[in-house]
Amino acid sequence: MNLIHIKENIGNGKNLMFYKKNVYDCFKELKKDYLCIYYNEPLPIKIRLVDSINFISGYSKTHLNRLAITELTKLLIDELKSTTLIILFNHFERLTERSLQIYQYLNSRENIHFICSFSIVKTFKPDVYLFLKTFKLINEEEYKVENTTNEINITYIVYAIISVYCFFIYMKTSFSCSMASLLIGGAWFAFLIFRTLMYTGGRS
């Protein structure tokens, strides 16, 4: 997606998400046209809010550090007034429950938009998914190639084949009881020895 499409989506009030991309590249382009703030990662939330207000209004960090997170959030919104702000950060998957509340609150404002990126899908917390739904994934194809697998699970067919095979072996073996008992007993005995060694000796 090129810059025109990104601007179009921002103009339509959408948040944008990239998979395995550094949003700093977007930041470099967008800062010419919008008020943009970039962080490499969204945490810690207080420091991010302090930096943002400091950048927008020029308040000293010493003063801002004394304020609580809720006060900082309110101050940021007040300072923005109706100016459009784009917050860009990588590592969306690192969001915590607490920071998520703040970002969701900021997201509820019409003039604040987010452009983020994530790299690890497995570490998403359940709450993060709700916030994630407000984003449009830009490089969806790339994400699908890496994260969705084209496979057919034939577990039950394999189970059935093994079972039928074992049935025939048993039928054949059972014609000689001594052979059957030797094989099963021998295998069972070997497993007992192995299990005992594993239990007593461990793996390392």
Binding site: N150, E151, I154, V158, F168
Partner: protein, 207 residues
């Protein structure tokens, strides 16, 4: 999976199959099954794409054609190949059975439970196969008979069928009907005695 697991798996499956169908050429079969079990990986190394054309089920067509020339070798080759496919299906990435036509991987189990190549999971699978292989190998190849009780002897009686030679009226004995009821998996020492002549001993390896 690694080569050693494939070879052990192929030999185990071949031996059990040979036992099922009373396959006689065990050594040749073991050799071909063991060798062909690494064939898919060799082909894929040559083509440069792992789990590609070498793991396709369509290899069964040329292997079946070998059967018109030599059936036992073809059986061993097919079993060796299928054992490789079967073991690879148990791994994380599965096996693209219909490769040139379809790129879909055929897999088994939940993703977390699949065997990852080269890990302790695979080593455990190898040990499992080995533990099954040793007793099967001992008894299907008759090596186990060394532990058999050689003192035990089964008695057998031969009943003669006397036939009349019409030309010179001499009585000759031929066509002995021998009925055996012996333990399987042991060498059978059968002694045939002819009255007041030399004693003949026949050693029957297996029936």
């Amino acid at each position: 999976m690694r080569e050693y697991t494939h070879i052990a798996g192929a030999i185990l499956i071949f031996l059990t199959f040979a036992y099922l169908i009373n396959f006689s050429n065990l050594l040749i079969g073991i050799f071909f099954a063991g060798w062909i079990s690494v064939f898919p990986d060799i082909i894929d190394k040559l083509t440069g794409k792992h789990r590609g054309i070498g793991h396709s089920i369509f290899w069964l067509i040329p292997f079946t054609i070998i059967g018109f020339w030599d059936l036992p070798i073809a059986v061993a080759i097919i079993i060796g190949f299928l054992s490789h496919i079967f073991l690879d299906i148990l791994t994380t990435h599965g096996c693209p059975l219909l490769y040139p036509l379809q790129d879909t991987d055929f897999v088994c189990f939940n993703r977390k439970r699949r065997i990852k190549t080269g890990t302790n999971q695979e080593k455990a699978a190898f040990i499992f196969i080995l533990l099954l292989l040793v007793p099967v190998l001992l008894f299907t190849t008759n090596i186990g008979s060394f532990w058999g009780n050689s003192e035990e002897q089964n008695l057998v009686f031969a009943a003669s069928q006397d036939t009349q030679n019409s030309s010179n009226n001499d009585v000759v004995k031929n066509n002995f009907n021998l009925n055996f009821e012996l333990d399987q998996g042991v060498n059978k020492k059968i002694t045939v005695k002819k009255v007041s002549e030399n004693e003949t001993t026949i050693l029957v390896d297996d029936i």
